[in-house]
Symmetry: C2
């Protein structure tokens, strides 16, 4: 039982309107959806409206449909009221099983039978979250990346009790509103993309821990090197291109032995007090007086420039393809 075709969602609830939830709310509004929100914190409504307002200029710059309206959000005093007549819910409660379960309990009396309930959880497992729920088959995980109103990616995976049709619907819903949604075939710690991030972090932290390079040089090494390539194509395709005309087979045969040798040598640091101190001091040196809000502003300005440039360049590539095909 699904609420509507995935490209016809009009009303979505956002439960939990902290950093992630508020950014989701701004994104849904920017795609013309109506948002009903709930958060237990006092002053959460003013905070939510302030965060939506702050995100809006970037969303305008990326291009808005006529129907988009930052004021089409209502804030409810209880979660059951927020979900009363929605087709989907995006839940962003704190990353503790008890907090999520208490919210689900409180929401359930209002949740329409056919609504799809999507959790943003980065660390919890859907098979655990959906246990004992009314209609566990429409509970699914849709994990975004910070900030969700700018970063396209959402990871989608169902738990053991999730209806496969709900997983498909959720992937299509996100694609219909302009996100890039990927399908995970099983539940593992960190889903997929945080595992890849954890792998990079391990080596980035090891480089600092072992004195190979400074925090700043590790950061410059990634951001002015492979980070630029990964912004335009994923690691598998980038490797295939490094194989020259012979592509992926040539790449694996030519570079495979080196890579397997490097794998054996990769670091396995632990976050000891000494490593923690080196990381903190290194980031302080790199920030060179810029505060966290300064850096967030820089990050988002640069991200927006990259997203705009990639959007225009991909449009041109698509037009060339249409013209030549």
């Amino acid at each position: 039982m699904l609420p509507c075709p995935p490209d016809q969602v009009e009303r979505i609830a956002v439960l939990g309107t902290g950093t992630i939830g508020a950014s989701w709310a701004a994104y849904f509004l920017s795609r013309g959806l109506t948002v009903s929100a709930y958060d237990p914190m006092p002053d959460s409504e003013a905070d939510l409206r302030r965060r939506i307002e702050a995100a809006w200029p970037a969303l305008e710059q990326l291009g808005l449909p006529a129907a988009a309206d930052p004021d089409r959000v209502t804030v409810h005093a209880d979660p059951a009221g927020a979900v009363r007549d929605v087709q989907a819910v995006q839940e962003n409660a704190p990353e503790f099983m008890d907090a999520k379960l208490a919210l689900y309990e409180a929401m359930e009396p209002g949740l329409p039978d056919d609504a799809v309930m999507i959790s943003s959880s980065s660390g919890l497992i859907m098979s655990e979250l959906q246990k004992g729920r009314v209609g566990p088959e429409r509970y699914v995980l849709g994990h975004p990346f910070n900030p969700p109103h700018l970063i396209p990616l959402v990871e989608v995976v169902g738990g053991t009790a999730t209806d496969p049709a709900v997983v498909d619907w959720t992937l299509q819903f996100y694609e219909a509103i302009g996100k890039v949604a990927i399908r995970l075939n099983k539940e593992v710690p960190g889903h997929l993309v945080n595992r890849m991030q954890a792998a990079i972090w391990r080596e980035a932290i090891d480089a600092v821990a072992t004195g190979l390079a400074s925090v700043e040089d590790v950061d410059r090494g990634l951001a002015y090197g492979p980070g630029l390539r990964w912004a335009v194509m994923g690691p598998h395709l980038i490797c295939a291109l490094a194989g020259g005309e012979g592509g992926m087979p040539n790449y694996i045969d030519h570079f495979g032995p080196s890579i397997e040798r490097w794998w054996k040598d990769l670091g396995t640091p632990t976050l000891t007090p000494e490593v923690r101190r080196k990381l903190i001091e290194g980031v302080e040196a790199e920030a060179a007086g810029r505060t966290v809000p300064d850096l967030v502003r820089e990050r988002d300005k640069l991200l927006l420039a990259v997203l705009g440039a990639l959007g225009r360049a991909r449009d041109e590539l698509n037009k060339e393809k249409v013209a030549s095909g």
Copy 2:
């Protein structure tokens, strides 16, 4: 004994003009340098001039000084002739110790006493390469990323016999011609950045090997998620921002335990025939009929869009800083 101040290099030799060497040559020309080249392959001169011509429009788009001239390159029949009156050499011979050593032997009779000899090697160790050389103290490693005319990063590290002043000079030389040069404090397999790439690849390959996600979804997961963030800031700074107002200390204390748990669960795949087949088939499906040259063209068009957008946005940030400071 150094050839000149690092920002006053006028003549550089490029030894080996395959993919990497030709891209280096185009970059040096684009910064107004005079290039003398050598490659043992027949037809290498025509190939080099063709590659420089192909790279030039992108370099023009990124902005050229008046002195830049794509024709200011001479091709020599022997390596000693190519290095005769240069201040620096960028060597790009095949990644085999014997090939590099034979080239050094052949080059040495022409090499000026004060010239700095930089190897692009990704896999060999400078301490081994410089053994037995005339003036081993001016041999240093400067490892670029593909394609070097577009990707700013160069990793710089000396061997045991390298003069520390040569390492400093090389870092400053690259920065003076617009590269982003990072200092490595020791020689380890894969230098720094290929180790971070190997760490990502391990997890990206493991996801395919274990059936967690398709090759295409792994690629989309990185390119539409963390890849976008890493194009603008390195992993340490990105983590610090995820710590909110509390920055890096808050990040480590809050997320450290999750990350250490993920580390324990990360994959350790091997490139078995079955994994090789899955990767090759997955990349074929993702390419959807696009050939390697099609994809290289796409990658470079998108890279150029990203580099242009980041350059303009960083200029604006710097102007704001100057205005407010």
